[in-house]
Symmetry: C2
Subunit: 266 residues, 2 copies
Amino acid sequence: MSKLLKSYDRSRIPLYIQVASVMRQRIQSGQWAPGQRISTLEELEREFQVARVTVRQAIAVLQEEGLLHAQQGRGTYVSDLTPSRHWFKLETTWDELIESIRDNVPQQMTLEQDVPPPPLQPNDGQAAAHYVRLRSVQYRDNEPYSLVNLHLAQHIFELDPKRFMRSPALPAIAALSQVKVAYAHQTLVIGSADPETADRMMVAIGAPTAECHCVVIDETGTAIYVADIIYRSDCIKLQIDLLGNGPAPGRAAPAKPPRRPKAKQS
Amino acid sequence: MSKLLKSYDRSRIPLYIQVASVMRQRIQSGQWAPGQRISTLEELEREFQVARVTVRQAIAVLQEEGLLHAQQGRGTYVSDLTPSRHWFKLETTWDELIESIRDNVPQQMTLEQDVPPPPLQPNDGQAAAHYVRLRSVQYRDNEPYSLVNLHLAQHIFELDPKRFMRSPALPAIAALSQVKVAYAHQTLVIGSADPETADRMMVAIGAPTAECHCVVIDETGTAIYVADIIYRSDCIKLQIDLLGNGPAPGRAAPAKPPRRPKAKQS
DNA sequence: CTCAATTTGTTCGTATGTATG
DNA sequence: ACATACATACGAACAAATTGA
């Protein structure tokens, strides 16, 4: 038996979906380039060690997703326009993070006053006396890609309620001269969508997600901003500069990009 | 109809697996605590809007995983020992990264000489003249959790072939006084296991993975180390210090925690 | 100890989905 | 396209174990 059939025992997921997911991976990784003709049904049958109909079911799945189109007598081709993945760069420093989300527009913002404090991890500082809870959804091209569940210390929220209700909170906090940010950190794990998340983000239940837990602590050690943000897994990308001396000079880039030429702290 | 049934149309994955994945999430998130008795079959039927048999299939899945145990007449209980998740911290600075993998022991190391250069991203510098390819598997408790596919510049490899063959390459490079590391970065995206990955890491085909692309560039702008590392998604956790001034002082910790607070002071 | 309530375990019939050759 | 086999899912009824009154 083939490797795939052995793995099938491990997974319980219908075979044609597994085949489809392997083929999807090949398209998205570029191993099957846009416009290219892929292997014939017979070759795919042999490669995956499955029946012809199963291959066709897998192809049907990818046709519905717009990644493939099959033509009788000619063959099966990869679509020219494959949707871009990993377009959302999750920044790893305070300044870049603020900058990257400055112009985001949160949708479906809801506010709850006087909510219980958020669950805090060991390094998340101490809870504030009162929190408000802001929930919102981020969209791109009319498609939701992240859910924000934010606990904001009430005394911070009241410094500029209108702004917090209509624009991202982190830039708003950075703009508040009264507030001194002492520590800020973020953790990321890979999870899977529960029914509510799946529904709000329009993905399947159990689809992989990136779960970010972002905490901002003021000079008194109080967690003034505690956000749990869930991203679709296929849109996110992290870029980590291990030495902290900026990216390597690119092909046509100048030899010495000393820092970030963008905006300076104000 | 319920949210779950609507989402089911979107997913094509068997219903009982979706139910199981929601229940698994609840256990792993602590919403269902270890030892706790969970809702009765009838309540779960109503909540998920599925038939009794479907709930039981989901429970059977989680029983096989050791997360639940059911007892006739009494109820269904969460196991006391639920396996730990996210135990692998992927460090985000050079020094911490080196330190964290120093004592790892790669298994099943294979070497290929004179391989074609690795695919390089725009900021990955220039390819070296010759590369060797080292592949290995990382284990914990006899379970594989990551696959390493490393392209190492041949002239670097030859500085200490024996060490590169039996211990992690990054600490080995850091230890080489002849080598000056100018840039080092890492990108992370979420992918899914292809058949070979699934087989070597003993997960299902299509299971989510964390794909790391780590590049080390020397002072001549040459990519001397290009690693593509695939982790199981459920073991990995990133911790990003946005301000770069260390973690916030913990509850019982002194104001200046020197490094790793292994032992706690009370 | 028995009874009743509660809860999981099992079985049947039916319909649809998945996979093979 | 067809015939076959097995998996998935439903609803309903019944059986068996546990608990407490």
